[in-house]
Symmetry: C2
Subunit: 191 residues, 2 copies
């Protein structure tokens, strides 16, 4: 199995400069055009030749993932903070909220993260895994406190997370149904 490429900060000073410039340009481009933004544009905005972009990020997915890595880390630490509180259900829902927001920072992100999710050996699979564990832990706590039905699996929780993020990503700003979706899943619809 060829080792999956994980973009890491290069050693030489000029390499780092370019790496950062590309990442910045990519963030701006993705936020504007979604994850399908032109990579040649990104390279140009970063003031770098297209080959340099591909040197640092051999695939579109690796670039997308690099732009969101910080956010994933943040979610892990956030989970730790939240689990220190004394209301496990509130902690869980607050975290889900943050996660949904992060997973929908630009169009197309959820789809890519979902792939990383399922496909072992994707650039940010490890990171996703860590985040998965954080969420699962919050869920376990809420279940232990008897606040959440015991038969809910982490997978089901994450499906809910992904679905809500997709909804948010595809909504017009004024018409974001993700919060409602979460509420309904939590409280139920049937009387």
């Amino acid at each position: 199995m060829p080792h999956p490429h994980i973009a890491r900060r290069p050693k030489r000073a000029d390499g780092q400069r370019n790496y950062d410039a590309i990442l910045g340009a990519a963030r701006r481009a993705f936020e504007r055009d979604g994850s399908e933004a032109s990579l040649e544009d990104v390279a140009a905005s970063a003031g770098v030749a297209i080959g340099t972009l591909y040197r640092h990020f051999p695939s579109r997915a690796s670039l997308v993932e690099a732009t969101t890595r910080d956010g994933l880390v943040l979610l892990v630490t956030r989970a730790e903070e939240l689990s220190a509180g004394d209301d496990p259900l509130a902690a869980l829902t607050a975290w889900m909220d943050d996660a949904v927001r992060h997973f929908s920072t630009f169009r197309g992100l959820v789809g890519i993260l979902t792939q990383s999710w399922y496909d072992e050996g994707t650039p940010s699979h490890t990171m996703c895994d860590a985040m998965h564990d954080s969420g699962a832990e919050l869920l376990r706590a809420a279940q232990a406190a008897g606040r959440v039905r015991a038969d809910l699996t982490p997978e089901e929780l994450f499906d809910l997370l992904l679905a809500a993020a997709w909804l948010r990503e595809n909504a017009t700003p004024d018409r974001d149904g993700s919060a409602r979706l979460l509420t309904h899943a939590l409280e139920g619809i049937v009387l």
Copy 2:
């Protein structure tokens, strides 16, 4: 406002033949490669020049929508059938199930239908609207029977539908969480 193009069956016999051949080829291609399948491939499979494809379907969306129009119509009639039964809640959930299946017949479909949804004046906006009404009617009936919380709006129901379809579309066949998502939204998670 330029009138939105609605692909309709052309008049001449050769035109109809080609229209149908393209539609068939497109169905096969979309099912295999998702909604981003190469239109040049589609044209080739249909035994037709690329210009002919564009003559009949001026945009990718119009082709995608044409391939699924029948299904949408089916959903409308299905709603009528179901509403004849005597269990409004069962009718609603059965219909949601069908709708989710239809909306996820190939990768990328939900996204396109969601656009048609929001953007007035899209090829199949009218059809979507009809379907929307069918679903809303089923919902109203279930609410009237006191089986569904009265504050649930049709929009929220459709968000749930879209989200579930997206989940199904993006899952590996063995890992389809859409049914669970629906169940959870219906029954709730919190104890």
